[in-house]
Amino acid sequence: MEDVGSAVAWVGAVWLALVLALIVLPSALGVSLGISEAYMWVLVKTLEWATIRIEKGVKKPQPQMLKSPAANGIIERDETPMEKEIAHLHRVDFEFSDIFYFCRKGFEAIVEDEVTQRFSSEELVSWNLLTRTNVNFHYISLRLTVVWVIGVIVRYCFLLPLRFTLAAIGITSMIVGTTMVGQLPNSRENKPQKGGICVANHTSPIDAIILTNDGCYAMVGQVHGGLMGVIQRATVKACPHVWFERSEIKDRHLVTKRLREHVADKSKLPILIFPEGTCINNTSVMMFKKGSFEIGGTIYPVAIKYDPQFGDAFWNSSKYNIVSYLLRLMTSWAIVCNVWYMPPMVRKEGEDAVQFANRVKSAIARQGGLTELPWDGGLKRAKVKDTFREEQQKNYSKMLVRNGSIGSLSTGTESD
């Protein structure tokens, strides 16, 4: 028994030593040993091979392929504006035909809607050998299964303990660790300066880590419970961060006040804010809340885009808690993310906070290759406001009135 015990202890010691030597020390010193790059290269080759196998497996010919630009949707929406479409049908009489348009729009919305889509993980075009993404893909071949099994072994028996060890080391020194591979920040000269506000699109708590990897920030965010809360409270001890409760209005005013003070002080670290207010699944950018743009000061936009092929970083906080999220993260192949620092923006004369927010949002969406949505991320949790609903009805009735439908109805019967 003793032998077993000492053998295990010995293995553990060697493991720890290797981890420290090969990973922790080099990263602390900023030196790269090239292990990550080699790993990525192997991974990409494997996934390419897997993809080719899948392609071969799908032997059926594809007759009418509607061109879908990897759309995260299952229906093709007809983007004809309402006016054009209704005018086209105005030969019979007004309303009977008009109802088609609204009917169809309604059905399209029921089959899929733009907002709910954004809160489920992005669908992959090709399988990346993780069971969790295997929704559309079926059994293809034995070889593929074997590779998958190997993948499971590698991920759970090697990568997971590896990352766990790192995490343990990391958390105890107040950094959450997971293997971050291939971070490619571009245009570094635009990095946020002191006294500025850094805004970025939000996909997961990892965003904050990635950005802080590259510079120091003061953070603003929703207070959480559990492990996340522990980390939050710990970070406050080192640096002045602002954690608040989203639903408390009093809290919000306090936050604005504190942010203003912080920004006014030029020697303080730049503030990092995620104006969407919640995690989105990284295919689009939702409405930016105007609060952060009212404070004044220079805004440094940052676009963050994860490559979904290697691992899905999106945190669906209503579905997974932080620990199961971290587990998923640690058993993925890798997290690859592109970070773009963009030139600073300031509020123009005569522009109000909302317009400014939208301007920044468009810039970030364009840079990151994401689509832009006017919807509020808060819809993840709440319902649409009534005021929005009446908008389209107003448009429609305006159109009818404009067509002079009230004054000049064609009365009488048709001439024979």
Binding site: V92, F102, I110, D113, S126, Y139, R389, K398
Partner: protein
Amino acid sequence: MGSAHSVPAEMRELADRTGFTSEQIEHLHRRFKQLSRDQLTIRKENFDSIPDLEFNPIRGKIVHAFFDKRNLRQESDGLADEINFEDFLTIMSYFRPIEMNMDEEQLDRFRKEKLKFLFHMYDSDHDGKITLQEYRNVVEELLSGNPHLEKESARSIADGAMMEAASICVGQMGPDQVYEGITFEDFLKMWQGIDIETKMHVRFLNMETIAHCY
């Protein structure tokens, strides 16, 4: 992952009946589960969770159509309280696009079904006729968002359209004749020669997942 993906018998039967492919059915099933929050049936309240739908002026009628027993091809009349996935698919199938391989008879039936669905949307009291009042209701709903439009204007639009419909269906009416309402046959007559199939469908993307290499 390793198991072969066999199409269960009921799926195939559903596919035959509603005309969707099995991939589309799978997708719709996922959507159904999303809407029903993993329950087996959907109620009216579940449609509240769709933000896009809130915009729609005839939202009420659309949701209503899902629970209308006439659309569900059940013999009875009235409204169902909740619908299961099969019913959901049945309603969805009204919005299927035309396929290349349909023959004359199928096309005709297809068109009739779509028009019947629309007819039910107007005929809210289920009596088989669209009366002036029912028609006014629809117009008012469509125009309800505009505070500047008075009820009177909405009414006159409805009245004028009703008169036109009457003229198509009945021809010249005497001064004392009362037009009771548009029956389904009259409704069909109105739409003769007008292509509605392309307006009343939702195009599903082909769901064969193509593998891409980077």
